[in-house]
Every structure is written in C-alpha cells, then in structure tokens.
C-alpha cells in the first residue's frame, strides 16, 4: 500500500513537472494546434467537400489530423525527455518504470487535449457540422488514449535508433489502424446514425485497455539501457 502511495505521488509529480516545463518552453502547443487545423483545411480542398459528402468524409480528416499531430508533436514536446540519455534524470530515481510510462502518457494526453480543444471547434466550424456534443468528447478521448499510448511507447523505441523521426510513424501507423477505424466510424455515426453498427466506442475502449496494458508491461524493456 505504501509503495502504491509513493508511486501515485511520484506519478503526479512527474506530470506536474512536465507540464510546468512545457508551459515555460511554450514551444509546440500553438504550432501543433495550427498544424491540425491546416491538415483539416488541406482535406477540405483536397476532397472538394459539399453538403452531401461532408458528413461521411469529414471525420476521416479530423482523425488524420490528430494522428499526424500526435506523431509530429512527440519529438519536441515533454517527450523530448525521450531523447536518448535525457531520460537518465528519471531513470536514476527509485521510481517504477510503469509509473514513468503512465506519467509520460498522462502528460502527453493533457498536451493533446489542449491541442484538440482548439482543433475540434475549428473542425466543426470549417466543415460546418453540428458535431460538438458529449458523445464526441467521449470518442475523442477514447481515440486519443489509444494513439497517445502507442506514440509514447514507440517514441522511446525510435529514440534509440539512428532515424527516429522517420521510423516513428512507420512503427506506429500500422499498429494504430484499428484505433483510427474505430474512431472514424464512431465519429461518423454521430453525424449519420447507422443501424446495426458495431459498438465502436466500446471497441475503442477495449483497444485502449489492451494497448495501455501492453505498453505498461513492456516500457521497462525499452528504457532499460
């Protein structure tokens, strides 16, 4: 019980430390939100969206923007700690590796949440869709957890290689396809309700549970050296 308490305190200390550094550095928050908006606008033109095809296509644009922004942001944000060797500061301390992973994940989720809080209303405005609802928040949270988990784990993997920027999306995108499918379909069903659709939010939650469990389990091997 005491170890759990210690771990819990350490977890939030790390999250607090990361957010504080990130707020001071203020490097990428704005850039990433802008980037997501830009991706959505590029899609807007690329697909020549009209009233009829807006609802089925727009959710794809939203999630592509999020996935791209997640991978792009990783190198520069709080996760800069995952730069090879910089992790030593935390690895030195008597903190369980699981706690370090969860702290990194939570920190990144908060970061993405801010970016999305800007991007989602923008999305609703650009595509002129009545989509802002509690349901959307749930779906965005579920999808983001899956994406952020894989990104956090494999950013650490990629940072140990010679080509981290190149290899990260190659590692993460194929693994994330189920999450992307689930998130896009769930978002679509908010716009055009489909009969007999699989329970996508539930599936997304299941994917998240699997991914978080695996990552917590295997993170220790990635940061061992």
């Amino acid at each position: 019980m005491r170890t759990f308490q210690t771990g819990w305190q350490q977890l939030w200390s790390i999250v607090g430390k990361d957010l504080r550094s990130e707020l001071r550095a203020r490097q990428v928050w704005v850039a990433m939100a802008l980037f997501s908006a830009l991706v959505m606008i590029v899609f807007y033109f690329a697909f020549d969206l009209r009233v009829e095809n807006r609802a089925p296509v727009a959710p794809g644009a939203l999630w592509i923007a999020f996935v791209f922004a997640s991978v792009l942001g990783l190198g520069r944000t709080f996760a800069a700690e995952q730069e090879h060797g910089a992790m030593d500061r935390l690895l030195l301390c008597p903190v369980d590796r699981q706690v370090i992973f969860l702290a990194k994940l939570i920190g990144y989720l908060i970061f993405l949440a801010v970016v999305e809080a800007i991007a989602v209303p923008l999305f609703a405005a650009i595509y002129n869709l009545p989509i802002l609802s509690g349901g959307l928040v749930v779906i965005v949270v579920l999808g983001t957890v899956g994406i952020a988990t894989m990104c956090t784990l494999f950013a650490a993997v990629a940072s140990a290689t010679r080509a981290r920027e190149v290899i990260l999306p190659l590692l993460v995108f194929p693994l994330l396809i189920p999450v992307v499918i689930g998130a896009v379909r769930a978002t679509q069903s908010l716009l055009i309700p489909v009969v007999n659709d699989p329970p996508w939010p539930g599936l997304l939650a299941a994917f998240d549970v699997i991914f978080v469990t695996l990552s917590v389990l295997f993170f220790q091997f990635v940061v061992e050296d």
Binding site: T6, S13, R20, E22, R24, P94, V95
Partner: protein
C-alpha cells in the same frame, strides 16, 4: 612501477568469493563486462569498496570510468558478472539500489525549464525525502546557489548548474555517492566546497566514488585509487602509497598498449 602492497583497508578478495574482513563491503563488483555494440568497455572488472571510503577512479578517456559509474547507478546493466551495493543487486533490486545511490554525471541531469529550487523539490519527491522544502533550501545555501534558487537552470553557467547537480546528488543523503568528473566547470570556491563535502562524507562513514582527470586532486582526496585502462583495472591500491609519477607511468603504459 612498483607493485603496491595492499593495506588492511583494502583487504584482498580472491575469486573464490572470500569476503574482506576488515571493514564492511558496500560495493562489490564481480567479473563485470559491458560492451557498446561490439566494442568492449569493461572487461572482467572486479573490485570491492569498503564502507566509508572515498575511491578515486582514474584512467584516460575511454578507459571505462563513466560506464563503471553508470553501472553502479543502474543506468545500464552489466552484460555479464554482477554488482551489488549494500547487498542489493543492481539488476534485480534496482529500485533499492537507486535509493541508496546518489549520482552526479557528466551532464547536470537537471530540468532546464525549472528553477534550481523546483528541480530539487521535484527530485526530493522522487526520492520521498521527508521535509523536501527545508532540505532543498539548506542544500542550495550549502552549494552557494541560494540567491539564484528561483531562476531557471537554463540560465545558469556550467559551473552553476554543476553546483545544483551536486545538491541533487546528495539530496537524499545517499550512503553511496557516485561523482563523474564532478570538478569540471567548477571555480576554486566550488572545488573547496566539493572537497569539504567529500571529507564530511568520509567522516560520517559514507562512501564516495569519484572519477577525475585531475590526478593530483584524485590522489589527494581519496583513500584509495583504482586505475582503469582499456576496460580493465590495471592498478588498485591506497592513494597515499601512490605517486603522481606512478600514475603517469600507468597512463603512458595504457596509451602504448592501446595501439
């Protein structure tokens, strides 16, 4: 170079596992090997350190000093062999070892965007140091950074950051302190402080391992010295019995055999 006789302080251990008897052993490394890729960095390094000693780890660049300290700090694992600190294995009981060990590395290992004080408070929470605030303030005063406690580490000079790094290293009162070239970037005053710190540790029976390229300092500050060359221990013995000339001879030998 004459072979040093071992004083009782550094009682000999044999490969069969007899333990030193004169004093408690706090660090024990047995046939430790480590390679980066295929380049061997440490080859069958074995040694023991008695509690309360200050040990200087000497050797030219690339001799394996930093790797040895990183192994003791659990930042990397031995490929073969084992290391135990206060009876805890660095691989199996890594978190216990981390609690016991303080480490000051080549880089200050501080967060640039946080202030000196915030850094210490953060690490105090990581090590569950009781009374973190007062401990952090006391240490900042101690290393002479009290007046800059609330400035970001990013604005510090190398020496200033190193002072804060020293404070971080001893924050949790570690029984074993590992200092990797702690004197780099420090001014005369700070070096005096460092010396004081080490002397205090020796007086209160705490163990310190330190690497340095300033051989005079290494010999003067330590109880015993170990010289690494090409990943092997080429010499170990009490510092008092060793002269600078001996050391220079060892270094010269090392560079000759390094091909």
């Amino acid at each position: 170079m004459k072979i040093q006789t071992l004083s009782p302080l550094v009682a000999a251990t044999e490969m069969d596992g007899r333990m030193p008897t004169e004093r408690d052993t706090v660090v024990e490394a047995r046939t430790v090997r480590k390679a980066y890729g295929l380049r061997p960095v440490l080859r069958d390094v074995s040694f023991t350190v008695a509690t309360g000693q200050c040990v200087a780890v000497l050797g030219s660049n690339g001799a394996g000093k930093t790797t040895l300290l990183r192994l003791l700090a659990t930042l990397t694992r031995p490929a073969r062999g084992s290391i135990s600190i206060a009876g805890y294995d660095v691989v199996r009981d890594a978190n216990e070892v981390r609690r016991i060990v303080g480490y000051v590395g080549h880089t200050p290992l501080l967060y640039d965007e946080l202030t000196a004080r915030e850094n210490l408070l953060f690490f105090a929470r990581m090590y569950s140091v009781p009374d973190g605030e007062s401990r952090a303030d006391a240490l900042l005063r101690r290393v002479g950074m009290r007046n800059r406690a609330n400035e970001r580490v990013a604005t510090f000079s190398r020496g200033q950051a190193q002072r804060v790094a020293l404070a971080r290293g001893i924050l949790h009162d570690p029984p074993v302190l590992l200092l990797d070239e702690p004197d780099t970037g420090l001014d005369e005053e700070a070096i005096g402080l460092l010396r004081e710190l080490i002397a205090e540790r020796v007086a209160s029976g705490l163990t310190t391992l330190m690497t340095t390229h300033t051989l005079e300092r290494g010999l003067a500050w330590s109880d015993s010295a170990v010289v690494l060359s090409g990943g092997r221990i080429v010499h170990a013995g009490p510092s008092g019995a060793m002269t600078l000339a001996d050391l220079r001879g060892l270094y010269a030998n090392a560079s000759r055999s390094a091909r």
